[in-house]
Point group: C2
Chain length 444, copies 2
């Protein structure tokens, strides 16, 4: 039975992707005002049909409660499943915020006059078809559907089975709202259900242009290992703060605290604090006390353990430097200076976000040029690494890949570009035989 349903799903997914590709080609030419109107219509429909959504979510939650009671579901997953009246308001507000953003399509990225009457335009356009794989959190359906519609992309959503009723009703409401816009094909949004569908999705490199896995590090790695399709996501967020000898003590204290404690489960939270040996005795006793008052478990290097005024610090082991705790645990290492801090970050950092606290401009500049990470920060908390805080208006995720999109990714991450060349009959032969020569004048 399982085998059969898998086989059936496999046939469908390729077909779903082919239709999504065809739909994306039509969506790409829908004008901005119509895409925005469709987003407003979808937000209206979600608000109008909130009872249906709450009912469906109630059924998912009851099912999940049984799984929870049977120990087949983690409490954290259950937490992320529940939809409230409040979260429906957030969903609709989120969709309307995306509608209000500037159109990411048709932006002029460069204009070059190749020759008289031969103009080259580089313009942003949609990527095409985007696959998203996520767990629980049914509010991802309208969030991602909104980003995709705004950016002219078809989307294939694969949610977790635990949220199947909630996802299904949100998907139907969205699709229903699109019916008022005959120029937008309904196949721009698609919902898949099974684990087999995921394997099938990963193999459809011809019809899916980008996969965004939202889930654990292991899951993101699994996807990257098993697909030729480019993946937008972050495998790991192992961020550091380095407190230099020339640091302002009060900034060092608040940044080191905020980077760890403000939301430790986030990928941009600090895991390891590196402290210059000349400032360690002044900074660490106070900081460690503050950490411990906030229930942070502190693991320190041998020199940290020897500091006066420091208590209840566990000895850090080698593996601590390589661990993303995502929890109220911090490892602290005293270093002899900037070079040792940089070497530590080179070795253990994940290229996500790395901060230095210093008042020395030369040291700061060297750190920021030298460190290879999506974000390099001076005197600011690593927790700022986020699309909303960066002002993108919407966040698709954070990328630790260096290609296409790096760091927090907004709508721009769902666009690519095309070159439009407009001539009046030009041939390459006339440039090769020397009867014409290129001007290559940049005009925008």
């Amino acid at each position: 039975m399982n085998h059969m349903s898998g086989a059936v799903a496999q046939v469908n997914v390729a077909e779903v992707a082919r239709r999504a590709r065809a739909a994306s080609r039509l969506l790409a030419i829908v004008p901005s005002e119509r895409r925005d109107a469709a987003l407003e219509a979808a937000a209206d429909a979600i608000a109008a049909r909130k009872t249906e959504i709450l009912d469906a979510n109630q059924r998912d939650c009851e099912q999940a409660l049984r799984a929870l009671a049977a120990g087949q579901m983690k409490p954290a997953l259950f937490e992320r499943l529940r939809i409230t009246e409040q979260s429906i308001k957030q969903m609709t507000a989120g969709v309307r915020e995306v509608a209000a953003l500037p159109d990411p399509l048709g932006r002029s990225l460069a204009v070059t006059e190749l020759d008289e009457g031969l103009m080259l335009y580089k313009e942003s356009c949609p990527i095409g078809v985007v696959g998203i794989i996520f767990e629980a959190r049914p509010e991802i359906v309208p969030q991602i559907a909104a980003l995709a519609l705004k950016s002219g992309n078809s989307v294939i959503l694969k949610g977790g089975t635990e949220a199947i009723q909630s996802n299904q009703v949100l998907f139907s409401i969205w699709k229903e709202a699109l019916r008022q816009f005959p120029e937008i094909p309904l196949q721009v949004i698609n919902l898949l259900y099974t684990r087999d569908d995921v394997s099938e999705m990963l193999s459809l490199a011809d019809d899916i242009d980008l996969i965004i896995p939202r889930g654990s590090r292991e899951f993101v790695s699994y996807v990257a290992e098993h697909s030729r399709i480019p993946v937008l996501g972050h495998g790991e967020g192992l961020c550091h703060v380095y407190v230099d000898r020339a640091a302002d003590l009060s900034k060092a204290l608040s940044i080191s605290f905020d980077s760890k404690v403000q939301y430790p489960a986030a990928c941009n939270a600090m895991e390891t604090l590196l402290v210059h040996e000349e400032i360690a005795a002044r900074l660490l006793p106070d900081l460690i006390t503050r950490y411990q008052e906030a229930a942070v478990e502190v693991r320190g290097c041998a020199r940290t353990l020897e500091l006066k005024g420091v208590q209840d610090v566990v000895a850090a082991r080698e593996e601590d430097w390589a661990t993303e705790y995502s929890d109220l645990i911090v490892s602290i290492r005293i270093v002899t200076g900037l070079n040792e801090a940089i070497a530590h970050i080179d070795q253990y950092g994940s290229g996500h976000t790395e901060a230095i606290v210093t008042e020395d401009q030369g040291t700061a500049a060297h750190f920021m040029e030298r460190i290879d990470a999506a974000g390099v920060y001076l005197n600011a908390s690593t927790r700022f690494a986020d699309g909303f805080r960066y002002g993108f208006g919407a966040e698709l995720g954070i990328s630790t890949s260096k290609l296409h999109a790096r760091g927090p990714v907004g709508l721009e991450g769902l666009t690519t570009y095309k070159y439009k060349l407009i001539g009046n009959g030009q041939t390459v032969a006339s440039y090769v035989d020397g009867s014409r020569t290129f001007k290559h004048r940049s005009v925008g």
Copy 2:
């Protein structure tokens, strides 16, 4: 023996890549003027040591001649192997041209004031480590080494065994020239030799950021299938010209001719000509005669075969529409209009370059928005799709991928970006508790 050398090479490649990674971190902070000076020094060294290069190439060519005689090498490969005094001049000129290009690093891509005293800078920076796999053509060594050095990247070159002596001497000369620049680690340039090295390279996703395969379509696909590392290249160049009913006949004639004949082996050459039924009888007899005078084999759809004044046209088969001839062969299909032309391109196009010939602005605009390809052209030959013709000054290749780089790729394709955030002690907690709010003012 073969097995042993393979095993030895495998150990080395991972080590080579690790050192290349470390070297790239130091190269990233070498100022532009020093990178340019190193390029000039390398060009000088190549010019000064041309006899060594010619001698080494002579040895490769003698070896290749024996392989050629034994039928173990293709004549085309042999052609690309030979270095002349002229090609040495071109090598040094090419390196100096790269030196003269604007610095691709440290470009400001966006500046946002997140809040008073909290500034976010998005700046271009090197990708890190780039692997290039190529056949014959030893001039690729200085060409790619120059692009990599200019853009602050380490490079791992894997050339063909047929050019081993030539590649080795060019590599030594380059490395020797770098010795005058103690701030540039010698491990920024690396040369590998064996086929086993390639498989090993493809597995080193932690230390190689981008692979550029230069070779056949099959080879590019092989690389993409066998590596998690992003690949820059083009699988296929199946380009079309669509001659609309509102086309200017003389433009249609010269563009259709140039796109096919000017250099048929190029990936941007046209393979299939689509012609509106209302203009076919006026255009095709003349055009087909011109093609045939230029030794082009013409394969036509049933309607083309029936045209008056058309001779010696072979009946095109279904597989013709899907074939990149890369040769003096063209397939011609008469269509009922724009929609059929677009549907044909959707089905058979490779997303490389697609052209329309028309004087109707509405038809042109629809074609250019609707067609999903790296280049969409109005009244210009597909052969313009090239980094030099686009004015990039240097070309790394042409990408039919939609992510990172699309179409002709210049130095920019070897860069990524990082976000620099400069604050004075800001924490996220103060924005969450409402004591501060973001401004998000774009200032550049």
